[in-house]
Amino acid sequence: MAADDDVDCRKASRLLSLACERPLGSPELRALRRHLDACLMCRNFEKQLDFMRKAARAYGRGK
């Protein structure tokens, strides 16, 4: 039953990190969205990625 594009948390975290580097393809994006819709933990990780980027930039500005 597991389709090729089934995404687990490990893969979702990889795609979320990848999305910080390059635009995701639409199959990747669709699979990721489907996972995120169902997974609060990975949605938390997504927010944490944003925050860590913000924090790192602030750190670089000499916080």
């Binding site: 944490q48 790192a56 750190y59 670089g60």
Partner: protein, 223 residues
């Protein structure tokens, strides 16, 4: 760090040749410049250390950068902050030293570095065999307010320093300095996909560390 002459810095004490270094400045201005430059030293060492991962090399880079800064202080026009200006000088010194270190590095350690970068087994530390988080990300309570707390930055810095060497270097350049991935890959002599693996690792590891040392604790003691 108030008294420049009493600091561990290599800079000459104000009495020794200050006027030679700042010929155009009155003595009090030169003194305050010394103190001001010195006040950025901790930041500069951090920066160099994150890049070079070697305390001795970092020290060397900072010393060279500060010497260069003193020599060209006249060209500092105040349009950027002093820290930005010092960092841009240091950045060149760091790149110099990185090049030198890369040339001197033995083949063994390059191979080890690459192997570590390509090795995917680290994910097992963070995900179980079914692909689930071992330590599921909980919501961070009001992370923005952490940015205003000095102790958060200490925790952040410790977590950065705890990353594996390649992950720490690449993350710092990508997220702290804001370089793009292709520039970093070229400098590290690795492929884009390798860079992405390293960044993924760095982000997951950093998240886990911040959770353990800051946000998890903050939740439990109601801070």
């Amino acid at each position: 760090m108030g008294e420049p002459g009493g600091s561990p810095l290599f800079l000459p004490p104000p009495s020794a040749g200050r006027n030679a270094i700042f010929p155009a400045m009155s003595a009090p201005t030169a003194d305050s410049r010394f103190a001001e430059i010195e006040s950025h030293r901790t930041y500069l060492v951090r920066y160099a250390l994150a890049q070079l991962r070697d305390a001795q090399l970092a020290e060397e880079a900072v010393q060279e950068a500060l010497l260069a800064a003193l020599e060209s202080i006249g060209s500092f026009d105040g349009r950027s902050s002093l820290r930005t200006w010092l960092t841009s000088i240091l950045r060149f010194k760091v790149i110099d030293l990185q090049r030198r270190a890369a040339r001197e590095r033995t083949h063994t350690s390059i191979d080890e570095d690459t192997a570590a970068a390509e090795d995917d087994s680290w994910v097992d530390d963070f995900f179980d065999e079914t692909g689930h988080w071992r330590s599921p990300p909980q919501s961070w309570n009001d992370p923005e307010s952490a940015l205003e707390q000095r102790r958060f930055w200490e925790a952040f810095e410790k977590c950065l320093a705890g990353l594996p060497a390649a992950a720490g270097r690449v993350f710092f350049r990508r997220e702290v300095m804001g370089d793009d991935t292709s520039t970093i890959c070229a400098a590290e002599k690795i492929t884009d996909s390798n860079c992405w693996v390293i960044l993924h690792r760095a982000r997951v590891a950093l998240r886990t560390c911040l959770d353990q040392t800051w946000f998890g604790r903050a939740a439990s003691d109601g801070r």
